[in-house]
């Protein structure tokens, strides 16, 4: 499961409370089920135990006591290693492929390369498709042969759908990079106060949070 790495990526922008993490997660992944607070704190506890995150401050400010968490160097390394490994190209790898891409787009400052993530994933998917197509076809005329054939077609078509999405993502990333290059060649009208990689995101945060 990618929850640990997603939390690490959410902490890259700076120390955060569990409360903020939950809302940042839900904004990054509007199509997924909102994160439960219990899961956030359980994940943070595991990250601290494993030395990937650390508690940097505890404040109460009149309300309940809240701990600020920060990512450690080991956590940063773990995140980049996760991004550098393509998601297992299973028939229904779709969600993890999206997760890695979204996280990479948000983690450029830590050295993540979304284009490399997309390209590595394309190769992993094509390799899996090649295995599926090159393995001995199931014997026709039996129920088990038919079932195997249909399961294989299901896997192939889902991999193909992922690959089409990856193509679109590459195209969008290129267009966005070209756009950034064009806009950054003239002095910016206002000083940007958020991190530059936020502009690479395919959807804007403000839209996501109002959904």
């Amino acid at each position: 499961m990618s929850m640990a790495e997603i939390h690490l990526a959410l902490l890259l922008a700076g120390p955060r409370h569990g409360y903020d993490l939950k809302h940042a997660h839900d904004a990054w992944f509007p199509e997924e089920r909102p994160l439960a607070f219990g899961q956030v704190y359980a994940t943070l506890a595991r990250l601290v135990r494993d030395g990937l995150a650390e508690a940097v401050d505890t404040r109460s400010e009149g309300g309940p006591e809240r701990t600020l968490y920060a990512v450690t160097d080991a956590g940063r390394e773990r995140l980049l290693a996760w991004l550098a490994t393509p998601a297992p190209p299973a028939g229904v790898a779709g969600e993890d492929v999206v997760r890695k891409t979204v996280v990479a787009l948000h983690s450029a400052a830590a050295g993540a390369d979304a284009a490399a993530v997309l390209s590595g994933q394309r190769t992993a998917h094509l390799k899996r498709m090649r295995e599926l197509q090159r393995s001995t076809p199931p014997a026709p005329g039996s129920a088990s042969g038919l079932a195997e054939h249909l399961a294989r077609r299901h896997a192939l078509l889902h991999l193909d759908a992922d690959l089409r999405w990856l193509d679109e993502a590459v195209e969008a990333l290129r267009t966005s990079a070209a756009h950034d290059l064009a806009t950054h060649s003239t002095p910016p009208a206002t000083a940007p106060d958020d991190s530059p990689q936020a502009h690479h995101a395919p959807t804007q945060h403000s839209e996501e949070s109002t959904r």
């Binding site: 190769t123 094509l126 390799k127 498709m129 090649r130 197509q133």
Partner: protein, 232 residues
């Protein structure tokens, strides 16, 4: 099983810094690519990415404005049009998306055509063509007119014709784009079969399932190689 590229193998095809433009629109920009004996290479990309121009350049149908093309040991810059046509007829197989069988000739004579053009007797060419049709499962269609064949059968006949000279390298441009999955699979299996005797197959395709049959993918974007990966 295919052998793939290794330093001691002489490539069948080598493109080095090839560029070409139509009017002022660049179609290929500094493309380099090698194809080794026994290898299946998929050249992929969206429409307009330069795939078909690459095939035309690699097969000696189009002279690029810059860069070098070595095909089967020949530097194509030093080979005149006549010699290039002979090379294509004798050592290269080409299969296109839309089958180009001669409508007035029966299927058998269509398949025999490369051999008769190369100077074989009609009888010898027809014997070889009958064997080639058997290979692609079309023995029964030998005396039919091309118009009587289904799309899949016509493409298999075109494959038989492309392979009848035992070419060392086969170029296929979207060979199954207009076929159903079963017919497409048959054509791809036939094309891939050339690697068993050490020939290479260059598959131009926009279809991921077709690309995934290759040993290597070369992906073009706006005329440049965007991504290259070994799939084996």
């Amino acid at each position: 099983m295919s052998t793939g590229p290794s330093p001691d193998q002489v490539p069948l095809l080598e493109l080095d810094g090839v560029s070409h433009a139509y009017a002022r629109t660049p179609a290929l920009r500094e493309v380099s690519l090698t194809v080794a004996p026994g290898e299946v290479v998929a050249v992929t990309g969206s429409s307009g990415s330069g795939k078909s121009t690459l095939l035309h350049v690699a097969a000696g149908l189009l002279r690029p404005q810059a860069g070098r093309v070595h095909l089967l040991g020949h530097d194509l810059a030093g080979v005149d049009a006549t010699a290039r046509a002979v090379l294509r007829r004798s050592e290269i197989g080409i299969v296109l998306q839309y089958v180009q069988l001669v409508p007035d000739l029966p299927v058998l004579d269509n398949v025999a055509l490369p051999l008769t053009l190369n100077g074989s007797s009609l009888a010898a060419a027809r014997t070889a063509a009958a064997d080639a049709l058997a290979e692609v499962g079309l023995t029964d269609a030998a005396s039919a007119a091309p118009a009587e064949l289904s799309g899949g059968q016509a493409q298999r006949a075109a494959v038989a014709r492309a392979l009848i000279t035992s070419p060392r390298i086969v170029f296929a441009d979207e060979p199954v784009a207009s076929l159903d999955p079963v017919g497409g699979r048959q054509v791809l299996d036939l094309l891939r079969g050339v690697t068993a005797r050490g020939a290479a197959l260059v598959l131009i395709t926009h279809d991921n399932t077709v690309a995934a049959l290759a040993d290597r993918e070369v992906r073009l974007r706006q005329g440049s190689v965007e991504h290259e990966a070994v799939l084996r």
